[in-house]
């Protein structure tokens, strides 16, 4: 996948580019808003990671101009600014996701993966499968090896999100943001408790667990 990184802090840029390359992506980089915008408009990218405050042209303006030119590359904003309103401003300006510095690289990677996944058209699915676990989006029913699993509405949404990102790391903040639609810091790791409940429902009594904990990052659902 091809990723554009626009970041003026060269140390952070180097780290980001290196990490993304190690994860198997092709990366172009820019250190200011104008060259970033020029790159973004010159060739297709799967994701653009853009710092919120850039020399020559502000990150918000870069994205706004990209959108004006009909460019719909998913954008992940990186910001060292305070959060309450800047997040809203970033998303309003056309950003697709927003990550505050300092971030964990795994968090960034998980979000980049999610943005790319969002972009690849998979058609309208009414059923999700992971191994012998099936989720029927129409009847809102779940089955594992043909046995019905009784899920609460929120557990269903949690499982749906995990299964839509099967094989990808999903972080706790991503779950809170997309399943609960909140962006805040729950002091205790309440998401973990929800996951262990869900795990008890879908993995208990089966030999091969599907829901995995990825140490230091989050969770992943996959068949093997």
């Amino acid at each position: 996948m091809r990723i554009l990184v626009v970041e003026d802090d060269l140390e952070a840029q180097r780290y980001l580019v290196q990490g993304l390359k190690e994860s198997g992506h092709v990366v172009d980089e820019a250190a200011d808003g104008e060259s970033g915008l020029a790159l973004a408009l010159s060739r297709p990218y799967d994701v653009a990671i853009i710092d919120r405050m850039l020399p020559l042209k502000d990150g918000l303006k870069v994205v706004a101009e990209m959108r004006e030119h009909g460019n719909s590359t998913p954008v992940l904003f990186l910001s060292a600014l305070s959060e309450v309103d800047d997040r809203v401003k970033g998303l309003k300006a056309g950003g697709d996701d927003y990550l505050t510095k300092p971030y964990a690289f795994v968090e960034l990677l998980a979000r980049v993966d999610a943005l790319m996944r969002r972009r690849s058209p998979v058609g309208v699915k009414t059923r999700l499968d992971v191994g012998d676990l099936e989720l029927d989006l129409l009847t809102r029913g779940a089955k594992r090896s043909g046995t019905d699993i009784d899920l609460q509405p929120r557990e269903f949404r949690l499982l749906e999100y995990l299964m839509r990102h099967a094989g990808q790391v999903v972080t706790r903040t991503m779950l809170l943001e997309s399943v609960w639609e909140y962006h805040f810091d729950p002091q205790t790791n309440v998401i973990d408790v929800h996951i262990s409940r869900l795990r008890a429902k879908i993995d208990k009594g089966f030999e091969a667990p599907l829901l995995h904990t990825v140490r230091g990052a989050g969770y992943m659902i996959r068949a093997h």
Binding site: S82, E83, H194, R197
Partner: protein, 474 residues
């Protein structure tokens, strides 16, 4: 316009008092004039009567009854203002221009006032007269009187017009007062509306000037100068917060990156270095805690300043409370604490959804943390007269009343909880969120069985929809 509001204005009250005092003064002045005029006129009349009586008494003593009767008859023929009646002891008329003893209507100072009839332009007219009776030796009585009808009419005019005059003064005064207060009220309304908008966070608003250079304009100018200053200070504060955020986040980001990189390298190197990798991972956890505290502090600073309101929306507290309840329910179950929600209808406030959720989560998190196994935590919603309340009550150990004010301060942790995890910023953040929403954070005794603490967020009930639309459009 709102009559109630008009009556409550200071301007109207001043006018009302002024009009009452003025009305009273005018009444007093008129009453005095009336009294004085009447007294002067009466004195003149009385002097004439006294003089006549003295003259007639002399006639009587010199010429006897016959002479007196002659004189009275002669004077009666003049047909002027003077009236005479001379009668014997049985009140039989001997002489005079009155045909009978009149009915007395008033007797001020030995004088009598009575009504009599006299032909004026061919018609009989009832007129007022004032006179004095004089007893002569031999049981004869002499009445000498003057027609005072003109005086009577004049004074009567006073008494009939006085109430109307006063009523007119009051009416005109109150009308004028209402107009004046309305004008003042309009100017003050403009100032109040602007201040209201500014309190809601729109610091760009200024009080409009009428251009007349009066004291209201002066007040508005001073307010505007003050607002310019506040706006500059707030902007400065925001810039400081932003640059602190930026200048600390950038190196923290590098630090975390480097630590992550080192772990990755050690792990890639394989074997042997596991211990080192663990150490660095622990350093990452410490860094994350540092970042967490830093973020919380920054959020508090930003929220406390309340300079930005772009994310304010009309919000159903019930929905947020249900979400937070749902989020924490498994945790409560794991800790064997019963978590319940007492809902209420129509708990709408204007607010920032994630800030309010954060505040509720902090309160619920604290409550679950400090409530022993088997205890209970209750999230409550209530709509009061002027407030919308969201509360979290627990059956934990509670906070002594004397410490309650202190625990909302930054970094304050009570001795009892020194060893449990947390930044000590949880309640400060709740308090900042409350402040941001013009709400109050009240800590009181819990009303769930077993006592404990009840934290109440009390939001004002007015939904400030227009303000949020305005600042969202910026």
């Amino acid at each position: 316009m709102r009559t109630g509001q008009l009556l409550r204005t200071q301007a109207f009250r001043i006018v009302l008092v002024y009009v009452l005092v003025f009305g009273f003064s005018v009444s007093a002045l008129l009453a005095f004039t009336y009294w004085n005029t009447r007294r002067t006129l009466d004195a003149q009349t009385d002097q004439i009567i006294e003089a006549e009586i003295t003259g007639l008494a002399e006639q009587y003593s010199h010429l006897g009854l016959r002479g007196l009767a002659e004189t009275v008859r002669a004077r009666s023929l003049h047909g002027g203002q003077a009236l005479y009646l001379l009668s014997d002891g049985l009140r039989h008329t001997i002489a005079g221009n009155l045909d009978a003893w009149p009915q007395t209507v008033a007797t001020p100072n030995n004088f009598v006032e009575f009504d009599y009839e006299r032909p004026v332009e061919g018609k009989l007219e009832t007129r007022r007269a004032r006179g004095r009776m004089f007893a002569l030796s031999g049981d004869f009585v002499l009445l000498v009187a003057q027609d005072v009808h003109e005086r009577y009419l004049t004074t009567r005019m006073f008494t009939t017009t006085l109430p109307w005059t006063v009523a007119l003064i009051l009416l005109l005064g109150l009308g004028g007062g209402a107009l004046m207060s309305q004008n003042m009220l309009r100017r003050l309304d403009a100032i109040n509306r602007t201040s209201g908008d500014i309190i809601k966070g729109d610091l760009t608003r200024r009080v409009p000037l009428a251009g007349s250079g009066d004291e209201f304009d002066l007040l508005a100018e001073n307010l505007n100068r003050m607002l310019d200053r506040i706006e500059r200070l707030m902007k400065g504060l925001r810039e400081v917060t932003d640059s602190v955020a930026h200048d600390l986040r950038t190196p923290l980001n590098r630090l975390r990156n480097r630590l992550e990189e080192s772990v990755a390298r050690l792990n890639a190197g394989g074997g042997g270095s596991g211990n080192m990798a663990n150490e660095i991972e622990r350093a990452i956890v410490e860094t994350d805690q540092l970042i967490g505290t830093f973020n919380a502090l920054l959020l508090i600073a930003e929220t406390d300043a309340g300079t930005t309101r772009a994310s304010m929306v009309a919000l159903d507290l019930g929905e947020v409370a249900a979400d937070v309840m749902e989020l924490y329910e498994p945790l409560a179950e794991e800790r064997q604490v019963s978590l319940t929600l007492v809902p209420a209808a129509d708990v709408m406030v204007d607010g920032n959804r994630s800030l309010i959720a954060q505040a509720m989560a902090n309160l619920v998190d604290n409550a679950i943390k400090y409530t022993p196994e088997g205890g209970q935590v209750r999230i409550g919603l209530a709509v009061k007269d002027r407030f919308v309340e969201m509360s979290v009550a627990d059956s934990g150990p509670g906070i002594p009343a004397e410490d309650r004010a202190r625990v909302v301060e930054r970094f304050v942790r009570l001795e009892a909880s020194r060893n449990s995890p947390g930044t000590g910023l949880g309640l400060s953040l709740v308090s900042a969120v409350a402040h941001f929403h013009n709400a109050a954070l009240v800590l009181e005794d819990s009303d769930v069985a077993g006592g404990g603490l009840k934290a109440v967020l009390r939001f004002p009930r007015t939904v400030l929809r227009t303000a949020s639309l305005k600042s969202a459009a910026e």
